[in-house]
């Protein structure tokens, strides 16, 4: 307890967390209300909603992957040169002569795959728990947009090393886009920035990958989080009025519903 007092009971700690260490119910409410990051959450949540086996934390892990990707991505941008002539060799030198270069590139790649997987699993969890139902209906649509953005982010990054894998993946991708009915040719030119894969393609996909798509994702995911709060937080069971189990009726009659999650 001495050590805890040393860390927690001083002017500096209390200048950050004004209510001190949250060891009482009141302070636990205040720490969430007063914190920008924690304030994404309500103050209290249903006990059943924090069970790991209910959500598996998949939405949180998706955004956590995005944070890791942003940090490792900025590191990669220090060394990567988005030019057809130099891109590949800048990645080679990142792997061979940059301190922690190979590690950061590996981490970026695996976190990217993991993010796609987490988003897909999150969608599946939300589906099988019926959490897309009104009033969460539009947030499900926003979620689909986020799935598309995640895949686009991953795929635009796939091109950047400018190796055989990248080159032929975009060849297949552009051919598929080019087969779109009525607008195929236009789609193909838009994807490639011209008639063939080259510098215009690389700089286009690079810009989308490092600026436009991440910014767009931040905007859309903010709407997603906002609506999670506005639509009543993590979903809890809803029964048709006449079909609710007896114990649920009894519990609800016994206590007035708490309203502090609006805080």
């Amino acid at each position: 307890m001495r050590l805890r007092d040393l860390i927690v009971n001083n002017r500096f700690f209390k200048s950050i967390y004004r209510t001190g260490y949250p060891d009482t119910a009141r302070k636990r409410v205040m720490v969430v209300i007063n914190s920008l990051a924690l304030h994404l959450h309500p103050v209290r949540v249903p006990k059943r909603a924090v069970r790991v086996t209910y959500t598996w934390g998949l939405g949180g892990l998706s955004i956590f992957m995005f944070v890791i990707l942003t940090i490792t991505g900025v590191f990669l941008m220090f060394y990567y040169v988005p030019s057809v002539r130099e891109a590949y060799w800048s990645v080679v030198s990142l792997d061979t002569s940059v301190m922690m270069g190979q590690f950061m590139r590996n981490m970026h790649r695996w976190a990217a795959h993991m993010m796609v997987l987490m988003v897909l699993l999150h969608m599946t969890r939300v589906f099988y728990t019926g959490s897309y139902k009104p009033p969460r209906d539009f947030n499900w649509v926003i979620g689909i947009v986020l799935l598309v953005l995640t895949m686009l982010l991953s795929f635009t990054g796939y091109l950047l090393p400018w190796d055989q894998l990248a080159y032929w993946a975009i060849t297949v991708g552009a051919e598929m886009g080019g087969s779109a009915p009525f607008v195929g040719k236009q789609v193909n030119i838009a994807l490639l920035g011209g008639f063939e894969i080259g510098q215009a393609t690389l700089i286009r996909w690079y810009t989308l990958h490092v600026i436009f798509l991440p910014l767009l994702l931040i905007v859309v995911v903010s709407m997603h989080f906002w609506r999670v709060r506005k639509d009543g937080n993590i979903s809890t069971p809803i029964y048709p009025a006449e079909a609710a189990p007896e114990e649920v009726r009894r519990r609800l009659q016994g206590s007035a519903p708490a309203n502090d999650e609006m805080a």
């Binding site: 103050v43 190979q102 950061m104 695996w110 099988y128 897309y132 209906d137 993946a169 048709p240």
Partner: protein, 242 residues
Amino acid sequence: MSQEQLPVTEPEQVIEDPGEKVHVWPHLVSIELVGALIFTLLLILMAIFVKAPLVDLANPEVTPNPSKAPWYFLGLQELLLHMHPALAGVIVPTAVLVLLAAIPYIDTKRAGTGVWFYSPKGIPITIFSAIYTTVWNVSLILIDEYLPAGDGSTGIAPLLISWGLPPAVGYVFVPAALMIFIPWSLAVIVKRRWDADTRELMIALYTFFLASFIVLTIIGTGFRGHGMKLMWPWQIEPPIGH
């Protein structure tokens, strides 16, 4: 101009049951911290032991064989082997996204929120739908790979062409009809066998999407080798041209 009257709908009579509540700090924050730590550790270990791929410099003259997209697009690339590229590459993914987004506007009843698999029928329906979808997918892929079509070629579309039908029949109409028939027949079976309501039908159809995605992705990743021919994972050799 008169103000338009919104249609008056009877509000659904429901009971919400949030149950007992706990403080976010520490009960949720601690779980989030542990999750973040586990995944950070996992990623660090992966980054130490598994290298991100980097093959030869891009070379427009040499086509790698096979050339594959990242794993989450291999389901679509698998479809590409069986039908017209506009169907596999543009129309199917667009339709899938639109239909996914439409789910809450078809299944609008609030009852069933917050419960895994909805009702006692939920899990049996999910298992049946997954098996039904997998059997269809695997059978069709095997048939399209090995069905003799005369003159040494194989596949459903080449066979139909050898009968004198236009290519559009084999590459557009037959696959499109199958992609409508399989989920439709699944819905009919689930409705009759389990007397399914809208939510249970949605479970069957989402499971159809998910099982198809998984089966096609696994086959595209682990069972397609040189020339995108079907083979066992241990027979696949590293791509030529890397």
